[in-house]
């Protein structure tokens, strides 16, 4: 290093080169580092000694750490379960995986549980009316008009509509099914009731997905919800709500689910977007 009593001192080029390469001894390195904090001339000199691509590499690394958002807890769990980071990101961006929807779902199933404390029959009817429609509402929230604020951009992206459909539907089912199953297990009556609603739910989801691209997912979900609600109310009037989930009806719902799934499998591949064009 060069020093002078009259003028500010500067690091010599050899020391700066060693510093840039990381081969300087620790004591000199500390001294150079302290000096660089106050000397613009030496900072400029040392920056010229770094290879440009190394600086770019370091800068990119810094930006990567600062700018790229860290995955949230749900994303980390999904990656831990074996999903790619990209699929996990698409999954958590599904509208049905986000706050307002989850609060609504929690309130709806909680309402059914609350109704049970007042009256077993009322609770059972409320649960059977709500549980199969929870995933249908999620489908409407994920594919319905205006539900996805970026749907115009998504519609012009090359990502497969079928794959997008599967990712979003998986997101809907992952949020709505476990909670409803849990509430179902708390219901009065036979234990199988906790899962018996899954076949009408599957039928409702598959039919909504199958008809949605033509009628609109929100409108289809509304029609499906109305039909199911009338059916449940009719069964309740005859004091036989459980008849809706007995074996004969289970077979009927399974057949409807298969019909809807077949339409989805055959038709979505040819669609321009998973939702209705507007």
């Amino acid at each position: 290093m060069t020093t002078s009593d009259a003028r500010p001192w500067h690091c010599d080029e050899e020391t700066l080169a060693a510093f840039a390469l990381g081969t300087v001894d620790p004591v000199s390195g500390t001294s150079v580092e302290t000096h660089l904090m106050t000397c613009a001339e030496c900072r400029a000199a040392v920056s010229r000694l770094y290879p440009a691509d190394l600086l770019d590499l370091v800068w990119d690394g810094v930006r990567e750490r600062v700018e790229a958002p860290a995955p949230g807890p749900v994303e980390r769990v999904l990656v831990g379960l074996g999903l790619s980071a990209e699929t996990a990101r698409l999954l958590v961006s599904v509208p049905a995986m986000q706050g307002a929807w989850l609060v609504g779902l929690f309130c709806a199933t909680g309402f059914a549980a609350l109704a049970t404390t007042l009256d077993d029959e009322l609770g059972l009817m409320t649960f059977l009316a709500i549980a199969p429609l929870a995933p249908v509402a999620g489908i409407a929230a994920s594919f319905g008009g205006g539900a996805d604020p970026a749907h115009e951009l998504v519609a012009a992206a090359p990502y497969s509509p079928v794959r997008l459909l599967m990712v979003r539907t998986a997101g809907v089912l992952a949020t709505s099914v476990p909670l409803a199953v849990l509430v179902g297990l708390l219901m009065p009556g036979p234990a199988w009731l906790g899962v018996a609603w899954l076949t009408p739910a599957a039928a409702a989801v598959c039919l909504t997905l199958a008809i949605g691209p033509w009628l609109g997912h929100t409108a289809t979900a509304a029609v499906v919800a109305a039909i199911w609600s009338v059916t449940v109310a009719g069964a309740a009037r005859m004091d036989d709500v459980l008849a809706l989930v007995e074996p004969a009806m289970q077979i009927l719902f399974l057949a409807l689910a298969l019909l809807g799934a077949t339409v989805v499998a055959l038709r979505y591949r040819t669609l321009s977007t998973p939702w209705r064009q507007s």
């Binding site: 990567e64 958002p69 604020p149 951009l153 090359p158 990502y159 977007t273």
Partner: protein
């Protein structure tokens, strides 16, 4: 070579005819699309980006047929799109949203995707806000976020629907720079109400009105049509199709001038107003200007 060819294209929404027998080709360079509200500009752009299917006619984009699934995917892989309006999923930062769109554009490897995301964020002048939530940004910044995602992968066809809405003059100038550079190697189609953007950026302009092509040609040719039909006066002229008081206190008149008036050089806006106004007079409908 043409990037997009529309032949006898038509589109209806119920009883409303959005496009009628439209024939257009788009090639390398920046093409401006002008027209009053409801002229069919957005419908045309949505057909180009495969978000909408034409009812009739033939469409070819980047050599592919948008009517087949394979063709649509091939087009979308080489496409950048800025829609007129879009929202953003909740909670996304600028980087997070552009990264999300990059995933949807099949950039599946993070090691190549993130540098590309950084590139387009820099290109859209968003570096300083890359970590901010999109919802917290101004309207102009959000438009630039949408532009950033459209620039991913240096698309061969860039379609922008009113990209300058909400931008301040400096941002508009930067956007013009970005688009003019993109237009050197790609096909850029811009729909706008800002005639000065078209005059500043585009060599070619297409004017749509009521779903029909009123003009398709060079910007200078359209301006030339207004020569001798724009004049200044000290009072408003009732005979003019359009007249307004300028900042200097004199009246600018557009239409068929009376004799002896002071004619001036027309601007693209004058020519556009005359074109749409003349068309309305020809068809007997009220001009929308």
């Amino acid at each position: 070579m043409s990037s997009a060819v529309l032949s006898h294209v038509s589109k209806r929404y119920g009883r409303t005819e959005a496009l009628h027998d439209v024939d257009l080709t788009f090639g390398t360079g920046v093409t401006g699309l002008l027209g009053p509200n409801g002229a069919g500009k957005t419908t045309l752009l949505r057909i180009l980006v495969t978000a909408l299917t034409a009812d009739g006619g033939e469409v070819s984009v980047l050599g592919e047929e948008p009517t087949t699934p394979r063709g649509r995917v091939a087009i979308r892989r080489r496409l950048g799109y800025v829609p007129q309006e879009t929202g953003f999923p909740r909670g996304f930062t600028v980087f997070g949203f552009v990264d999300y769109m990059a995933i949807l554009k099949e950039w599946s490897r993070r090691s190549t995707r993130h540098p590309e995301v950084r590139r387009v964020i820099d290109r859209a002048d968003l570096t300083a806000v890359a970590t901010k939530r999109v919802k917290s940004l101004s309207g102009g910044q959000r438009r630039r976020v949408v532009l950033a995602q459209a620039l991913l992968g240096r698309p061969d066809l860039l379609v922008l629907d009113e990209p300058t809405a909400g931008l301040d003059p400096e941002q508009r100038a930067r956007l013009r720079d970005t688009l003019s550079r993109a237009g050197e190697a790609s096909t850029v189609v811009i729909s706008t109400h800002q005639t000065d953007d078209v005059a500043a950026l585009c060599e070619r302009v297409v004017v749509l009105d009521a779903g029909r092509v009123l003009f398709d040609g060079l910007v200078d040719d359209l301006i030339g049509r207004a020569a001798g039909r724009v004049w200044l006066s000290d009072v408003a002229h009732a005979a003019a199709q359009h007249t307004w008081r300028t900042g200097s206190g004199r009246w600018r008149n557009v239409g068929d001038p009376p004799t002896g008036v002071q004619l001036i050089e027309p601007a693209l806006e004058d020519a556009y107003l005359l074109l749409v106004g003349d068309a309305a007079l020809d068809t007997g409908i009220e001009a929308v200007a």
